[in-house]
Amino acid sequence: MTLMSVENVSFSYGAGRRVLEDITFDVPRGSNVGLVGESGSGKSTLLRLLLGLDTPRSGRILFDGQPLEAKSGRYMRSYRRRVQAVFQDPYSSLNPAHRILRIVTEPLRSLKVPGDHRAMAEEAMAAVGLPADSLGRFPDQFSGGQRQRIAIARAIVARPELVLADEAVSALDLSTRVRVVDLFRDISERMTMVFVSHDMGVVAALCDRIVVLDRGRIVEAGETARILADPQNAYTRSLLSSIPRMPEGA
């Protein structure tokens, strides 16, 4: 079953040149889809469209069979409950003046989710491997990796069906990155994920499907295993071959 489909979507800012051209792909329910591209590929613009922050110039985006109505406040409120996001920078995405409890429960308040918000926050914190007493502390008492866990807890607290992650591990140190990738894998067992990244290694570790973007177009899309083993497009091949690998032992 398809949770989200992007159909022939094009986009440009103002009268400028097209930054996305005829983008079409599906996000099957329960899957992890990686959107891979370098700077200027249009991946960030595409993510803005998926978040409903901009609307396509042409084409359409369907969520659960219904068109995404980015301009309808009422629609967007229910959309935000079903779709949440995690961003790159764990230092700027958490309000430093707020306690973690207030940060993590923010979606519950703004979406007017009924129930015991503290209990929900505790459950979300447990899911990301942070102790419940973290809720009384402030962001500056946590490391980068822990802050990203808090951002993930905030994204999953309202039990969304889809999580959109934008370079969500790129700012983390290597050893932390591996652990947060593992956390995303755990979480993705329970929901659908779209993972936007320039880092093919991370996407390969996390996603079952990959969409490769280059200068606003999809140059290749398919199952991760197939794309890694047998990339058809020249750009995909150069992207894969540019990634430095560890030296092999004798």
């Binding site: 370098e38 700077s39 980068g144 140190d173 290597l174 050893s175 932390t176 990155r177 591996v178 320039h198 880092d199 093919m200 290694g201 991370v202 390969a204 570790a205 996390l206 991760t224 295993a225 890694l228 083993a229 150069s238 992207l239 894969l240 540019s242 990634i243 430095p244 690998r245 560890m246 030296p247 092999e248 032992g249 004798a250």
Partner: protein, 269 residues
């Protein structure tokens, strides 16, 4: 000792904390040395200490001999001279290293003119211009004429980093410090910059201090590496040995993490 850089018992501290503790390493002329560490390891502070550019609140002790001159405690005047003659640095983000309001050609011309004047060579406009063009060619930038007139925001990230490398080379240093020079770049551009640095270091016989958190990138550049964790060296040795058979627990964790992503790329997630 014919080492280009010899660091012995280097400790960097504020009034409250020690940021780097008892660090020793050396780099011979023409040698490519890698400093591996994550954030907070002290690797970038070490680079700043070598060039005498530490923030005033951080006090160095121990010894840093660069091209025969003691850096620790040296007066600023001596350091200024050292920073062109002996060492030049390329940083992570070329956009912040370059002046946004100055054409690229003029930015490279600055250090070229200073070097020519210092060595009492011909520092006329024509001589400076010839040297700028030669440098742009050396860093393999296409259309050097157009580039000299362009501003930093008008060229790509990879081209900006090439300009930053040209500026570093303008001083004809014997030691090049590259502090995460590929981290802010696209993967395909990263590979080109690594190739360029490797080629230039070989061509010019430079010593290289290559600082990065990215193990496979360091693996492509350095012959010897040192791994730092929270201000201390935890492991050192030949790059192949450290990346294939790490002995220290922390190094092993880094190597395992890097290999995780490698095997994911081989289709073994």
């Amino acid at each position: 000792m014919s080492d280009l850089l010899t660091v012995e018992g280097l400790t960097l501290a504020t009034s409250e904390t020690r940021l780097v503790e008892d660090l020793s390493f050396s780099i011979a002329p023409g040698e490519r040395f890698g400093l591996i560490g994550e954030s907070g390891s002290g690797k970038s502070l070490t680079a700043l200490a070598v060039t005498g550019l530490l923030p005033p609140a951080i006090r160095p002790s121990g010894s840093i001999r660069l091209g025969g001159t003691q850096v620790v405690g040296a007066p600023e005047r001596a350091l200024v001279r050292l920073r062109g003659d002996a060492v030049a640095t390329v940083f992570q983000e070329p956009l912040t290293a370059l002046d946004p309001l100055m054409p690229l050609g003029a930015q490279i011309a600055g250090p070229v003119r200073r070097r020519l004047r210092r060595s009492s060579s011909d520092a006329s406009r024509g001589a400076v211009r010839r040297e700028v063009m030669a440098l742009l060619e050396q860093v393999r930038l296409p259309e050097p004429e157009r580039l000299t007139r362009a501003y930093p925001h008008e060229v790509s990230g990879g081209q900006r980093q090439r300009v930053a490398i040209a500026m570093a080379l303008a001083c004809r240093p014997r030691l090049l410090i590259a502090d995460e020079p590929t981290t802010a770049l696209d993967v395909t551009t990263q590979a080109e910059i690594v190739q360029l640095i490797n080629a230039l270091v070989k061509e010019l016989g430079l010593g290289l201090l290559f600082i990065s958190h990215d193990l496979p990138v360091v693996g492509q550049v350095a012959e010897r590496v040192m791994v730092m964790q929270q201000g201390r060296a935890v492991e050192r040795g030949s790059t192949a040995r450290v990346l294939i058979e790490p002995e220290d627990a922390y190094t092993r964790r880094l190597v395992d993490a890097a290999r995780r992503f490698d095997s994911a790329l081989e289709g073994r997630p």
